[in-house]
Subunit: 121 residues, 2 copies
DNA sequence: CTAAAACCTCACGTGGACGTCAGATTCCAC
DNA sequence: GTGGAATCTGACGTCCACGTGAGGTTTTAG
């Protein structure tokens, strides 16, 4: 399929797909005229890239990790990276959790104080 | 205390503190000569700001949320913002969780395949 | 065959949270 | 009072995942 169709199916912009190629994460075939051609598996691959981006990984990390997601194998360095990213995600989740608790506290207080003067029954 | 001492105690850079002031989040007193002077509560405030940043809030959101963290009160708009940010954090946590699971799978596979050819016993 | 839609390659713009450098001023210990 | 440390105000630099034209080429529907 061509770049526009993949962009639609994967829910990203055409520019993003070109950027992924620039970074080496998703390199398509080319038609004789120079147009990009992607296989069906590219849709899942883009989803995976998006998932990793959403988790705070850099394109550099994703580039190293992607191949071994497909092959199931990893060099020791990539394994280190995988573990490091996993630990970073754990830390980020606990930070998010703490901030969420803080927000919940504020919401609870603000909610009660608001009802105090909004519905003073 | 002055800006350098606060930076040390709060574990941020002097530049960051000036940036917080520029954004209205932490506005200190000034000496006659123009130097910033912070109270002891500023340390906790900076921690809070950092915590919110770590959770992905923008300086704009933090600016609106900070006052009602202190007063315990909130206007309906700020309450909406609080709830929206809380929901965003929830979504981000589930995305992180999904990515972590994916990494775990890869780590498990890579670990076994590595031991396959690293220690073929 | 042709027109328009889709695609191509540069290449500069964006936003956010600061880093960093320059040059001037203020503070504090001695 | 003086010298060095700390601080001051601009203002430009950084990084990254794209956004956004400009100007030209390829593909495809009719």
């Amino acid at each position: 399929m061509r770049i526009g169709e993949l962009a639609l199916k994967a829910g990203v912009s055409v520019r993003a797909l070109r950027y992924y190629e620039e970074k080496g994460m998703l390199v398509p075939e080319r038609s004789t005229g120079g147009h990009r051609h992607y296989g069906d598996r590219s849709v899942d691959l883009v989803w995976l890239i998006q998932q990793f981006y959403a988790a705070g990984l850099s394109s550099r990390s994703i580039l190293e990790i992607l191949p071994c997601v497909e092959t199931g194998e990893a060099t020791p360095e990539v394994l280190d990276l995988l573990v490091a990213e996993r630990e970073r995600i754990d830390r980020q989740m606990s930070e998010l959790s703490a901030a969420r608790d803080r927000l919940d506290t504020v919401i609870a207080n603000a909610g009660s104080s608001c009802s105090d003067h909004c519905r003073p029954d």
